[in-house]
Subunit: 332 residues, 2 copies
């Protein structure tokens, strides 16, 4: 297996992606390879600091870098040799089985959609974000790829999320909930009301109905469906609450308690880096988007997510799920 | 001053509203009165358990009760003698200066809007919810009164929130942020993009631009504007995160640490009951909506919020804010 990793992406590139790749090596399937895509010299010097070249790591030159502040579409057009474009091309040509980046999210989304293209029948790709809970994580999508969503698109997110929950999160019969402001079918905004009706007829997964904001972390659902505006706001809000709690406890607790195994464990549950990157679901292939502030540990976990996605044929399964409806539509 | 309190509203009525009223008495301005609205017998027996009749408490009979599961509009029509209707009528007739209820939120909203009516120029009323932060609370609105919002309505929420922040939260020059998925003006869904342009021309408050989900609790803003769908989801999500943290820490920490003053203080910051009820802004009068699960302490704090709103002429100020634009519109 070969994973293409954008070595120039993220707030601490190339040091963090390179360190994450080094950490990931031990857990990779045999004869796997991580392709570090970016400026060779920069990667070499980061690699030297991370212990020198390793078996299983290979550098692929990409002279250009999409900056975090670049406009996504303009950057893709004006920088055809960026680490994002070169990495995605490796994946598209079959020289890599997956692509991972902690770079400019908008650019990674747009380039993945344009270069890998969507599976037939998929209207819009969606970002699947794993929210930590007290038990197993819950997949919330869309995490921000689409702001104004039609009922049909929300239904599509449910189908994408259900396949991912089965293939990568290990939930054979995923429960899907629609994020709303009340449990009754007639609640919510226009899109949610219509989406409820579509979801209610689904046979591919168990639709448990509307859920409220307070149910997201309750364990009721494996997959929570919402538009990308709401998903993105809640995702970023959640991260900030974890920070607020650390601040409050840091202010009130003795260092000995803060450093205790129990407190550390409680905070680790809420640490996004444990959960790796978020897949862009619906594209032909495996494209994993990481937070710009990702740590080496987060990159390592994103590589694990990519490996699981490839091993479990995520992309084929998404294709099959939507191909059936595409041919059904054609037959109608 | 007279405050009408729905003694039959909430999951633990009438015991909790009555206990909250008793607790509030000590802090009320002199010669104030709390009118306990509901079934006299039930209130009398709750009052007996809370230490017997008190100076400053008066029972006003209302034989009917709107149940939590009732359809709001149907309940208002079919139960004209409910504690909600009788309490709001007291306020409308000037026999009470404010109304408070922890009952069926939809029914309280609808009845307040229909019976008190909106100030001229106000398109839609909004629920202003105070989110606890590490520092002072931030007002998020709309908290769920309106699901699909026009840009003009979002602009209206900002104006309502700014008046409340000044009059009740003590922020002479409130900072207002628009909740969005990126800071740039061109980010967001259709309503947010247009609302940005309206807000950007505002002179009544300081518009600080778009804020992301992670900024809500940061202290950047006194007022955060969003549609009621997003606001309601985030509000309920926040409550559930506080519960999750308590669960995680309860599992990991020794009882001695959990019971320590520091940990208790940290959790108290995140306790909604500290902040009392949420005002329904835009109506002619003061109508405060409390959580169905409100404790006596939450009711007590809602009474404090009502008193502050009356003392600072909140309703007149809202009227003045919108009257100027109504006459401006008429002149144009």
């Amino acid at each position: 297996m070969r994973i293409a990793l954008d070595a120039m992406g993220g707030d601490f590139a190339p040091a963090v992606p390179v360190a994450g790749a080094v950490e990931a090596l031990a857990d990779l399937p045999e004869s796997s390879e991580i392709l570090l895509v970016g400026r060779t010299k920069d990667i070499e010097s980061a690699l030297a600091k991370a212990g020198g070249p390793k078996k299983g790591l290979r550098i692929v030159e990409a002279p250009e870098v999409v900056e975090m502040g670049d406009k996504p579409l303009a950057a893709i057009r004006s920088k055809p040799n960026s680490s994002i474009a070169v990495g995605l091309n490796l994946h598209k040509r079959g020289e890599a089985d997956a692509f991972i980046s902690a770079g400019n999210t908008g650019a990674v989304m747009a380039a993945s959609t344009i270069m890998l293209r969507l599976h037939e029948g998929v209207d819009r790709p969606a970002i699947g974000t794993a929210f930590p809970t007290g038990q197993k994580p819950v997949l919330v999508l869309d995490g921000g790829a689409n702001v104004d969503c039609s009922p049909r698109e929300l239904f599509g997110f449910a189908r994408l999320g259900a396949v991912y929950a089965r293939d990568v999160l290990g939930r054979p019969q995923p429960n899907v909930g629609l994020l709303n402001i009340g449990e009754e079918p007639e609640k919510g905004n226009l899109a949610a009301k219509e989406a409820y009706q579509l979801l209610n007829g689904a046979t591919q997964f168990r639709f448990i109905g509307n859920i409220e904001g307070g149910d997201v972390l309750s364990g009721k659902c494996d997959v929570v469906v919402c538009d990308g505006f709401t998903g993105n706001v809640v995702l970023k809000f959640y991260e900030s609450v974890a920070r607020l709690f650390k601040e409050l406890f840091g202010r009130e607790l003795d260092a000995s308690v803060l450093e205790s195994a129990g407190v550390k464990k409680a905070f680790r549950v809420l640490d996004y880096s444990e959960y790796g990157g978020a897949p862009l679901l619906g594209v032909r292939g495996v494209s994993i988007i990481c937070h710009g502030r990702s740590s080496a540990r987060a990159i390592k976990n994103a590589i694990r997510v990519a490996v699981q996605s490839v091993q479990n044929n995520l992309s084929d399964h998404v294709g099959a799920e939507f191909a059936s409806s595409a041919s059904h539509k054609a037959a109608v």
